[in-house]
Amino acid sequence: MTASNEWPLWEVFVRTKAGLDHKHCGSLHAADPKMAIQMARDVYTRRQEGSSVWVVRSDQITASDPGDKDMYFDPSDDKVYRHPTFYKLPKSVDHM
């Protein structure tokens, strides 16, 4: 197989049980969405991991630039006031 006729790459998201989020768990090659879903089922849900699967073409994902990491994410390191730990919760809203 040459690079030009390789199947496109898909990112796979699996939901372990109803109510939880779909979590990214890996990627695979497949010719189209239907095949990608089936392969995701076969590759990533063999050990009772899944109750629902999403797939998305990897080239459809826009990602942040690793080079921007300092600018994007470091400034939040010292902004403790953004965490809600300073607020006293009324007893009636326990377990937040």
């Binding site: 695979l28 090659h29 076969d42 590759v43």
Partner: protein, 255 residues
Amino acid sequence: MQGSVQLRSDPATQYLLRIGDTCLILGQRLGEWCGHAPVIEEDIALTNMALDLIGQARAVLTHAGKAQGFDEDQLAFLRDEPDYLNPTLVELPRGDFAFTMLRNLMVATWLKLLWQRLAASSDAELAAIAGKALKEARYHQQHAADWVVRLGDGTPESRRRSETALAQLWPYAAELFEADAVDDAARASGLGPGAAELQEPWLAEMDQVLAEAALTAPKESSFRSTGRRGIHSEHMGHLLAEMQHLQRAYPGGVW
């Protein structure tokens, strides 16, 4: 060297062995794809299905041997060739990917219809096995059907291979639907359907997929394979030699 076991072959036992051996032998053939499939995702899918089939075989063979004091391993590994009652279709060498997918479609469609009926068997344990196996067979059928359509309606190369596979495999389907005394007894006792009863729905489901794949089933021929009666093709002995040699050489060996 471990000797062979010999089962009393009453009709109910034969009926169960035909089902269990179909799963066992196709599972063995699909296992041969491990490390050889065209892409790694498909490699995993095929071995998943091989293990599904072997799981079904374990359940059915355990059930078939229980009354006579044999366990699943004795039945799977220590019978002689004429005592395996799978249809010849499943013992044919794995062929290329088009051949494997078409055979998977033929067998999965048949097993799905069979499990559906067996879920209402008068034998409660067989009914329970069928209920679980049905879900697996439905997926195997869908997986194979998708590939048969892709390959049949694909490139000139994949189409040529699909047509060749269809010409080779189709004549072996007739055996699946040949009624005999074993089937009659199963029907009478409510154990399961007779072979002929599944032919019409099987053809209907196959026709649908073949039409979508732009393939045409060959005309019916007079050829009849005879695996379900224990008379196998030349390929069966080689398959059994590979499958059995560990248990024969190291009796009772386990993981």
